[in-house]
Subunit: 142 residues, 2 copies
Amino acid sequence: MSISSRFAVAIHILSLLDINKEGRNTSEFIAGSVNTNPVVIRRVIGLLGKAGLVHTSPGVGGASLARPPREINLLEVYRAVQNDPPGELFAAHDKPNPKCPVGQNIQGTLDTVFKRAESAMENELAKVTLDQIAFDLVRGDR
Amino acid sequence: MSISSRFAVAIHILSLLDINKEGRNTSEFIAGSVNTNPVVIRRVIGLLGKAGLVHTSPGVGGASLARPPREINLLEVYRAVQNDPPGELFAAHDKPNPKCPVGQNIQGTLDTVFKRAESAMENELAKVTLDQIAFDLVRGDR
DNA sequence: ACCACCTGTAACCATTGTAGTTACAATCGT
DNA sequence: ACGATTGTAACTACAATGGTTACAGGTGGT
């Protein structure tokens, strides 16, 4: 399966918070841009808040970036909304038969390869910062 | 969510076919090593067959590698068992609001980043060949 | 102090992908 | 012809996801 669209939604939200930092970013307003339900937005913002990427205030609050956008990279966002722990992008098959030479050692072998592939992907995400995304968005608008 | 364990199972199967090329690799035998149901194995072998990685024969058949193991890399295996089409490791959120500057352009921006990350991962998989895996497995057995 | 507005969260539902299982027709080698 | 094995369909159970309704509680303006 693919990686949850929460990741895409999270980036959308953060971009909006950056670009529209003057306005009042209620979950309903954001939901209008993302085109989904406000509760979905609040859920994602909750995750981003726990990860320290946004500040939120209950009541009339609204959310805002907790850090300047050039200090937020997409890997952080990815980890914030992905509830699978790191190192588990690829699922292992459990309990291969230890009596078989293949079953006995496959876990470790696959683990190495899988970790390497996962890291390669994450490094690409880490290279991209939120302000680059925002810049791209605004430029595309011209 | 994580990538289906079919991938791990597929690598297990192919390794077994390589290492045990003398024996008779029935789905039941393989299932014993992987520790799952024979039908699960046949399903994965079916996918590998469609992708041209293994030869299978109905009836008493059994399966065997269609190519030498050093000419099979893990990216091919990945694509064979992954039914999501390439370029969709990351799910986009659909129909963002086109009236919003963010919603209007986010798809394209994310697409670029997502494709880059996905490719980075796939390149790592492409680097690893089946004979490297098999070598690792046998070495680990000592 | 009141009140409209908004957040945070729980609860529920429908959908989807996955893996395991049973069953069985078709096929092959002996 | 027969026993073994494949290929596939059908069904079940389960987990993750995204959408939705509901509501308690906080916040700020007036």
